[in-house]
């Protein structure tokens, strides 16, 4: 951990976005994670994505639980809202916050421990409710904060730093999300910002729960030779199946998509995700096909990445619950709390 803060000086010609801000305006405090942590790269990708989307930091709510990954919201978007929840309970808090103010951009940052062990139930229900948020799992296969025990995402046969071999089969959050009815399922790698940044942007703009599983090597406990979550291993078995380009609503889409290898998917707000399929036989709108494709490649030890499944028509929590479009804090008090008479009336309906 560096003792000094990142110098306030920046490149004199740093580009500005439509709000007149530079990427530096989207930063947070200095990271206290280990040098070389994949999580810091994801932080940088988030900064880049929010900057490119011209989102004012104060319109973002950062949600996280406990773990190395969950510390990272301190390192970006200093002016955003944020809650650091109890271990594994971030989805509940995010659900509540989202219910109260649906007009913020919700970003959940979690880890493999926070989401796949202690918070697995919470994770599943947030998915199922299709809460409108981007949910990032910074996945490194170990509990870094407690000195490198295997996590629930560690692969069978992967070796710990001290030599123990993992025997338990892993939970793959991507497959879990596919089977639990996720409307946006993606995987990426902290070392590939070219893929990661557009996926983050698409996930933020997606109307519903966007799961983004990001392989993020733990440089201290899980970056050695026999690890299956190291930088070198990930790069060796990296298999991008679909590349997603995010096209904001204002820009016309120029390329032609009739070759069967690219396909545009329009998002709720009018922007578009253009999917460039690296494998011709892959269809990111077919849940069953996505599932089998993942299984096939997993058997070969390959790490399938990209926007693997998207269904923009699935209704999110507010649509299903038919809630008001305004944030609760913007409702007049009389509307927010209609009084005992109104309560009496509602209760009478059930008597």
């Amino acid at each position: 951990m560096s003792f000094m803060q990142k110098p306030r000086v920046s490149h004199s010609q740093l580009p500005r976005n439509e709000l007149g801000l530079t990427t530096r305006d989207y930063e947070g405090s200095m990271s206290t994670l280990c040098a070389g942590c994949g999580h810091d790269s994801i932080t940088a990708a988030l900064i880049q994505a929010f900057w490119e989307l011209n989102i004012e930091p104060y319109k973002v709510a950062k949600m996280s639980g406990i773990g190395c990954s969950s510390k990272t919201p301190a390192y970006f978007l200093a002016e955003a809202h944020g809650i650091n929840a109890v271990h594994g309970r971030m989805p509940s808090i995010a659900t509540g916050a989202n219910a109260a103010d649906r007009n913020l951009y919700y970003l959940g940052v979690s880890g493999d421990g926070d989401s796949l062990s202690i918070g697995f139930g919470q994770f599943a229900h947030a998915l199922r409710r299709n809460i409108n948020m981007l949910y990032i799992i910074e996945n490194n296969g170990v509990y870094g904060l407690t000195k490198g025990q295997f996590s629930a995402s560690a692969d069978v046969g992967s070796k710990a730093k001290k030599g123990e071999v993992n025997q338990q089969p892993p939970i793959d959050p991507v497959i879990a999300a596919l089977t639990l009815g996720g409307s946006f399922v993606a995987r990426s790698f902290s070392g590939d910002k070219g893929q990661l940044v557009p996926l983050i942007k698409a996930g933020i703009m997606h109307n519903g729960f966007a799961l983004l599983d990001v392989l993020s090597p733990c440089v201290t406990f899980n970056d050695h030779e026999d690890s299956t979550k190291s930088y070198a291993h990930t790069r060796q078995f990296y298999h991008p199946a679909v590349h997603a380009d995010f096209v904001p609503q204002k820009k016309p889409i120029r390329a032609a998509y009739d070759d069967g290898e690219s396909m545009p998917v329009e998002l709720h707000d009018g922007s578009t995700v253009v999917l460039r399929k690296v494998s011709k036989d892959y269809n990111p709108t077919n849940r069953a096909r996505a599932y089998s494709y993942l299984h096939e490649h997993q058997k070969r030890g390959e790490i399938v990445t990209g926007l693997l499944y998207i269904d923009e028509d699935q209704r999110e929590m507010h649509d299903i619950s038919n809630t008001v479009s305004a944030a609760l804090r913007d409702l007049p008090y009389a509307e927010l709390c209609p009084g005992s008479a109104a309560l009496e009336e509602i209760q009478n309906l059930y008597r």
């Binding site: 990142k6 110098p7 000086v9 040098a35 070389g36 942590c37 932080t43 070392g191 930088y231 070198a232």
Partner: protein, 602 residues
């Protein structure tokens, strides 16, 4: 692009913008660090190695280093390098014991230096410790050349000048004062082993317009007039004074006039204010003293009344662009009254005393043909330097000419080829002290440039030699040293250690780093994280990286040398290493062979 060869001494030297821009390559960041540590004598001696006159230059240097300073590219103003140099000189204490020793046993070579200005003194400074005998001819009654005659004492006190000249003279210069050389042919017949001409550019340009010679007593040539003031021959001037020209000499003339009786001084510039030749700081200082700078006025006539100058007529001009060229047109005429008029429109070198048939060639402008690298004229064994060589430049260039001429003279006297120059070298030493500790102050200090305090306007005109600049206070020095970005602490990259985790790229505050596929320079520059349009600054390109075969590219332009890339690197693929450029001087034939630094035992 090919992987960058960091063993090339020029690569890291270029990164140290100030040192690269300094004609004498003064190791600025290192001496600023020494000042920061309170090691003023060490800082002074380090300066002296390259620029010979730190006390003088700390006041009146042209400071090519400051416009080059990296700080000016990422912040509003560059580091006040020149003012810090003065701090080292003012606080150095007694350094006599640490000056180069002079051998009692001479090497039998006698060198003649013509003129006792900064170039000749540098030659003497470099050659005397090698056992040479140096005979220096000076037409004035005191050594110092232009530094004494043309720079007023309120900018450069006589004691400072005297002290630094005395150090060199005391090394054993055979100084022949009040002795001007009337004939080169005759001098050559006296059997010197080599001759160095450092006689300056002593002829001020004249203005041949009507009325010029009708009242010669009140129309002065700027540099001659300054010289007369310096030697006390002139101690008064009229109430209203016009200075013609707006270069640095004009600034010295106008401020001098204010100190010997003038009350209303106008500097008349032909060009618009934005295009004046004077340095910004000299203009500021003149304006602080209520000198009026009048732009776009071209003199046409000296106006006399009863045989005495009473003013001057000007054409008022307007400038405009036509086909990309600047042109002017006349708007009208204007008369401005004056009791005295000083011409400060430039100066040139003049050699009436060099016979044209002795093998020293002169070009079409009657300037000697001198080799820029060796400083040798077309006659072997005769060298030129300072303003005498290529016309008016400045002190720091003259010093560098002196160093190069000394190298040439040393080689010439030993029968070596003077065209083969001793090479530069670079030494790299890690500054790592602990996990995130470096032996330099790596954090970025946001302080703005300190302004040097001046003597009050009430006080400064009381005598002609009151130095206006007071120098930095301790507190100002403390702040200003921290503004230095330590550009000599280099980011050294080891491609074989890199795991491409992006940590350095993500943390870099000025977006200098990119990992990408290699390409040609234009293509690469277009693909970097931040715009890389400053082509004066090099790109560093690494060897291909292990995992993906991509390359690490660093745009040196706006790196603030904070060391965060190295702090955030998990594999120590980045290290912060101090680069020391070994600059060769006369006698340093081995400077180029990379020798381990000599450690002095206690």
């Amino acid at each position: 692009m090919k992987p960058t060869d960091i063993s090339n001494p020029d690569y890291f030297h270029r990164v140290v913008d100030c040192q690269w821009a300094c004609p004498a390559h003064t190791d600025v960041p290192q001496y600023i660090r020494l000042i920061a540590q309170g090691r003023f004598a060490d800082a002074y001696l380090l300066n002296r190695e390259s620029n010979v006159f730190p006390g003088i230059l700390g006041r009146v240097c042209d400071r090519p280093c400051e416009p080059a300073c990296r700080r000016g590219r990422v912040d509003e103003k560059p580091v006040a390098i020149c003012r810090l140099k003065r701090v080292a000189a003012d606080l150095k204490g007694n350094i006599a014991a640490r000056l180069p020793g002079i051998p009692k046993q001479k090497n039998g070579k006698r060198i003649a230096c013509i003129g006792a200005g900064c170039a000749s003194l540098t030659v003497a400074n470099d050659l005397l410790p090698l056992g040479y005998e140096v005979v220096m001819f000076e037409k004035q009654r005191e050594p110092g050349g232009l530094m004494r005659t043309n720079i007023p004492a309120f900018r450069l006190p006589a004691e400072v000048l005297g002290e630094e000249i005395r150090v060199i003279v005391d090394m054993g210069v055979e100084l022949r004062l009040n002795e001007s050389v009337a004939s080169m042919r005759q001098l050559l017949s006296r059997g010197f082993d080599a001759v160095f001409v450092g006689s300056g550019a002593p002829r001020g340009k004249n203005l041949e317009i009507p009325g010029r010679y009708d009242d010669a007593a009140h129309v002065h040539i700027g540099i001659d007039w300054l010289e007369s003031v310096a030697f006390g021959h002139i101690n008064a001037v009229g109430r209203q004074v016009l200075i013609i020209g707006a270069g640095n000499t004009a600034m010295d003339c106008c401020r001098t006039a204010l100190r010997i009786g003038a009350r209303d001084v106008k500097v008349m510039a032909r060009k618009p204010l934005t295009q004046l030749k004077a340095s910004d700081w000299e203009l500021e200082d003149a304006m602080e003293e209520s000198v009026e700078i009048i732009q776009c006025h071209a003199p046409t006539e000296f106006v006399l009344e009863h045989g005495r100058v009473c003013g001057m007529r000007f054409e008022v001009l307007e400038y405009y662009q036509e086909n990309g060229k600047q042109k002017s047109r006349k708007l009208g005429d204007r008369f401005l009254p004056a009791d005295d008029i000083v011409l400060a429109i430039g100066q040139e070198n003049a050699f009436p005393w060099i016979e044209r048939d002795i093998g020293i060639e002169f070009d079409q402008w009657d300037v000697p043909v001198v080799d820029r690298k060796t400083m040798q004229s077309t006659r072997a064994g005769i060298f030129f330097g300072g303003d005498a060589a290529f016309g008016p430049e400045n002190i720091i260039w003259a010093v560098e000419h002196g160093h190069q001429a000394a190298i040439s003279i040393h080689k010439y006297c030993h029968g070596e080829d003077i065209g083969v120059r001793p090479p530069f070298a670079v030494n790299l030493t890690s500054t790592k002290m602990g996990i995130h500790e470096w032996s330099y102050s790596n954090s970025f200090d946001t302080s703005v440039r300190r302004l040097v305090p001046h003597v009050s306007l009430q006080e400064r005109f009381k005598k002609i030699n009151i130095e206006v600049e007071l120098g930095f206070t301790d507190e100002q020095t403390r702040v200003e040293v921290e503004r230095c970005l330590n550009c000599d602490i280099q980011t050294v990259f080891f491609a074989s250690k890199c795991i491409e985790c992006d940590a350095c790229i993500d943390v870099c505050p000025t977006a200098c780093l990119t990992i990408t596929h290699n390409g040609e320079e234009d293509d690469l520059r277009a693909r970097l994280k931040a715009p890389a349009d400053n082509r004066k600054q090099p790109l560093f390109v690494s060897e291909p990286l292990k995992q993906t075969g991509r390359v690490m590219v660093k745009d040196e332009d706006q790196c603030v040398h904070c060391g965060l890339c190295a702090e955030r690197c998990p594999t120590a693929a980045w290290d912060m290493q101090k680069s020391s450029v070994k600059i060769p001087y006369a006698g340093d034939e081995l400077a180029g062979t990379a020798q381990p630094p000599q450690r002095r035992r206690a």
